[in-house]
Symmetry: C2
Subunit: 447 residues, 2 copies
Amino acid sequence: MGQDKSFLLTDLYQLAMMQAYFKAGETGTAVFEFFVRKLPDTWGFLVAAGLEQALDFLETLHVSEAELDWLERSGHVGPSLTSRLRDFRFTGDVHAMPEGTVFFPHEPILRVTAPLPQAQYVETRLINLLHFQTLIASKAARMVLAAKGRTLIDFGLRRAHGAEAGLLAARAAYLAGFDGSANVQAERAFGVPAFGTMAHSFVHCFADETLAFEQFARARPENLVLLIDTYDTEAGARKVVALAPRLREMGITIGAVRLDSGDLGALSVSVRQILDSGGLRAVRILASGGLDEAEISRLLRNGAPIDGFGVGTSLTTSSDAAALDCAYKLQEYAGLPRRKRSTGKATWPGRKQVWRSIGPDGRIAGDTISVDGEPREGTPLLQQVMRAGERVLPPPSLDEIRATTASGLERLPEPLRRLTPGAHFPVEIAPALVALAQEADRIVNPT
Amino acid sequence: MGQDKSFLLTDLYQLAMMQAYFKAGETGTAVFEFFVRKLPDTWGFLVAAGLEQALDFLETLHVSEAELDWLERSGHVGPSLTSRLRDFRFTGDVHAMPEGTVFFPHEPILRVTAPLPQAQYVETRLINLLHFQTLIASKAARMVLAAKGRTLIDFGLRRAHGAEAGLLAARAAYLAGFDGSANVQAERAFGVPAFGTMAHSFVHCFADETLAFEQFARARPENLVLLIDTYDTEAGARKVVALAPRLREMGITIGAVRLDSGDLGALSVSVRQILDSGGLRAVRILASGGLDEAEISRLLRNGAPIDGFGVGTSLTTSSDAAALDCAYKLQEYAGLPRRKRSTGKATWPGRKQVWRSIGPDGRIAGDTISVDGEPREGTPLLQQVMRAGERVLPPPSLDEIRATTASGLERLPEPLRRLTPGAHFPVEIAPALVALAQEADRIVNPT
């Protein structure tokens, strides 16, 4: 379909509101911020991701002639809007936390400052891009902590929610610390290393399993991984031992075996034994099949000799929390602070900055959310990344982002690193922000 | 990114296996089937969806020169494969259940019959397309049953997993019985009617709420929906009553009000009362904000006078079950039945057909899964949709698919229509299929 850059990839109400803003002359400067309201149950932190795609969206935003024609014929908006859309571009400023930054609820990770119709219109796709990658990077980071240094590969393209989800999940998982993805496109688009093994169907197409292994090895001798659970996992391991000398004569080294079913803990122990006593100590064991961070943690706690994990559905769909409770909210308009006060959805108004303090142990000691411009102790996490519609910083490489995540995870207090966190992170609201919220409430008289 | 048609949108192992199949001369006819292994907890049925996109993928499958160049340089495959890929097309047959068909676990909804390298390669994207839309159509159908005829609109683009997820979720929800989507692109791409209201940020940008309502109404007088919960929902309703005569003088009719927070049940009652006593009996009440099928059902059971629901995150992410346990499995190769026997993942081999019997009450009485070609009682659900790589049937319109779903839901036995189903659907395995499974196990000697 190739419509991920379409101007029409939005909610109809954005166009309706744009039309009304222009008609009412409400085109002053608006400030919107994107933040997460609360963590999914059992999650202790989040990892910011998706900024690169968000900035790309803003930088290239425009309406094509074909879209404009369609919009005019659709009857959804009038000529007063379509005439203004022809030259519509994003000309605002953006401040954001760098991708890979560890963050917590109510902390804005992105702020848009732009004329109201622009700042409003970009809401739908900005949330769509920031939410998904932040969700997957955070989920992946939990797996990285659980895997304690073992190899982690994304196997989740097939059950990801469409093509873009598969591609961006591979990126988000890699920046969170995964080693690569089975998704070939993610290597071409982002340089995420592609990994590949073999499927059960391959084994089924040959008269016997050993023949299947040998044919696969001859065709793909590099990074050779053999899937050994199609019929009987231990028998499969013995066939690998028997085949290894013949492959060695051909100059082929078996890199790893993969287990994809059954009791992975018990099978990894017996397979390790079979491989070791067959002289294949260097052959690694990969496991896959319905894994998530809890199962990875359980397997390793019980001493399973597994060297790497292929994680699919639970990663790319964030199976225990398919969405984050997040929002992109108006914080200021025409110089005045604004905030939503709907029951249960109240937000902090104004332009904000997040300050992070590091304790003597090198771990994060606490964050303070304050009014932008008020100096606080610590390091400010939001930085300007776009001015008047153009990037002011060269985008970091994916490996640089990966290093940011790794250092953030290292600095995470121990109770928050656990799969079931032992503490809430101390995020403090600065007095200046509390005062601003009271001012915002005074400005608008609700009755 | 626009890479949803890329040949590289696949798992690396598909390319590795293709290379090995060609090298080993294993290019005989393979039969793969796509099916769901089990239902999510509390779901009673599934709705087949995604076939149109799957067939489009198969019909247009090819490798671009740029992709071929990249593949050659990537080192992942050798020239023995890339030389064959230049003319690679899908030339196989496809049998499938029509989109909108209600179905159950273990019933194949799509069968591919093609030379092995083709049938294998298409696995990743076929699953990616069929799984997601089937997931969302099934989730949406649960909401349609819960809403008992009230209007249902998809509001979920922003938290859908990327652009394609947002677009295809709008399609899947519509074919399952939703009335439309906020996603403008879904109207252009598929004719899904676009609906739009207004956001809280709009109200915040005006000095008072009434002014915001009036400005919005003047700019967008058709299908006017006013969001009344920004400050105080009941006060908002009274402002709507006060404003209505002035709008009427301008020829503007208020279509509906929307509630997006608070106790939607209690607020809908008081808002209905305020509107009715203000002479606005024709103004409808729409509700949104964290809704799912359970909450819709609860609200209506308690008599909430809500005329329509906007459903976002729970729909487009299928929040209680972000993925289905589904598979695309080799069933036959070179004329012999095959099946996977990995622990806990055994499948039924061979080419299959599903026969559906309708009882005297007009409801589905039972399904039988049998070997294709063996006549059974009832109606066969799989039909040929592609021959030698080309469609043999004109694709049904989305409204025709919607009618298929509606009739399927009507025929669903009452216990399976409930949100927590009262019975398991009787799917029978025909004796001929049991015999074929035994034959398949004899063919491959696992030890």
